[in-house]
Symmetry: C2
Subunit: 322 residues, 2 copies
Amino acid sequence: MSLPPEFALIAQHFLPLAGPGALALSDDAALLLPPPGRELVIAADAMVAGVHFLPDDPPETVGRKLLRTNLSDLAAMGGVPLGYLLTVSLPRDTGPEWLAGFTAGLAKDQAEFGLALLGGDTTSTPGPVSLSLTILGHVAPGSALRRAGAGPGHDVWVSGTIGDGTLGLAVLLGERPGSPSGHLAGRYRLPRPRLSLGQSLVGLATAAMDVSDGLVQDLGHLCRASGCAAVIQAGLVPLSEDAAALLQADPALLPRILTGGDDYELLFAAPPDAAAEIGARAAGLGVAATRIGRFVAGDPLVTVLDGQGGVVPLGRGGWSHF
Amino acid sequence: MSLPPEFALIAQHFLPLAGPGALALSDDAALLLPPPGRELVIAADAMVAGVHFLPDDPPETVGRKLLRTNLSDLAAMGGVPLGYLLTVSLPRDTGPEWLAGFTAGLAKDQAEFGLALLGGDTTSTPGPVSLSLTILGHVAPGSALRRAGAGPGHDVWVSGTIGDGTLGLAVLLGERPGSPSGHLAGRYRLPRPRLSLGQSLVGLATAAMDVSDGLVQDLGHLCRASGCAAVIQAGLVPLSEDAAALLQADPALLPRILTGGDDYELLFAAPPDAAAEIGARAAGLGVAATRIGRFVAGDPLVTVLDGQGGVVPLGRGGWSHF
């Protein structure tokens, strides 16, 4: 009795990704003995071709983007990666080379981030490629970073640079000049989950989340969870060289940089007296961490100031699916 | 700052489903302190409209079917439900009444099966409704039921009745007579995960899995994992009254009953001297458990015999997505 095509495909492409608990992907479920005395951190994200990635994005980066957006959620909680489950719905005419590229990308990232596939499902779909990934990680009980906890007087921090993802999308769509193999496009296709930084912020940051739906909207979420407001300085928001060049050429890009999605940087709060320690830890990890403003008392509003103390008008606040 | 539509929708429809570890669905991930000394059982399944359910299936049953197919995987391992994560990709024109029905169905099943939503993601899609669910459960370490372990001389058992799901689909498609609100259609739309039976088989069954892709194909998987063959008697395969009536009217339905998918019953192996105990436990739980054949030495082939000892020809062995 030979394997039907669906199972042959799983054996060829997904089995090499499977970790010990995956039981060779041949049982009904995976088994996982949680690390003793640790709390699990679990998140799930979906990605759809044409919504979260471009249909002609290289399959190598599609799987990695999905894994990395989930790792970014883990990073935001201060978690250590443990494993993941993946469901993949593919058009029936998807060629084997697409799956080969997709899983080769995942294999690279598994090695880089230290986790393995635990299980999942592969189905057909009459629609676009639809992916869903559930990630499992762990933290010391009670130590996870949360969105609630920022207070008036705490600094607003971000890691890395902001706006690269949304500008990378603009480059790939031909709306802005730039190379599809350049920095910005790379940042759209391959987020950089800040796992080490997140872990190092446990006990230092009073609140944290990752920036996925735009800096301003996500800061609004953090303010709402924490019960305070925030004022940030547009001029302090860290930009990559490529983003800064585009902004200089067209200052009207500022709202897009501040509200576009796909940053996958950490946004966090800490009292000013923690600033030196945070700076030292981030520097030790080779990750930029920048203070861009302050939390203040008040309703959960985010105000963005320009260099003259005026309010930057933003239009829509961030990305919403509906 | 009011909530953007995506988050308002999550607050309205999904927040009422959230368990304690879900952190009100307002953090980047859920937190879960695993039950001390237990092993986690984790599985994920995807469902796509037009593939796994009919686009006009009532939304109340769509969410429940997804949850129950995952609970069936847990049942097959002998697991106890703990929680689930859900990703939902919806066409932008999906009405609020669809989501209201979908989540109302999930609420019912959460109460029935004793678990709660931990987290997930809601996105738009230009394609059909695409759902993915990851389920978490637990077992005593090392005690999970596995597919490997059946041996020559062990009995082949199934729970409940076989073929109702695939015949229910035929009824709903108008290919066979029957009511859309009748037994068979109900079995297609609402599987009955055999959680209590699965848990009661720990230590008794030598191998187990759930029947989702057709009895014969899935028995082949179990044989392959266990390194043996199986011979089953078509006449012993338990049928519901409605299925038996359709089969009597058209004996050519037999291959469909034996190879159609969507049964979500347990298929398991046990030595003959465990039969009385298994029968007593199943009866105590009000679940039918029927011996339909025997595992034998040999290559992992499944043979189905008719009442005269002839081999029933089956055509395709079961459902494959590709």
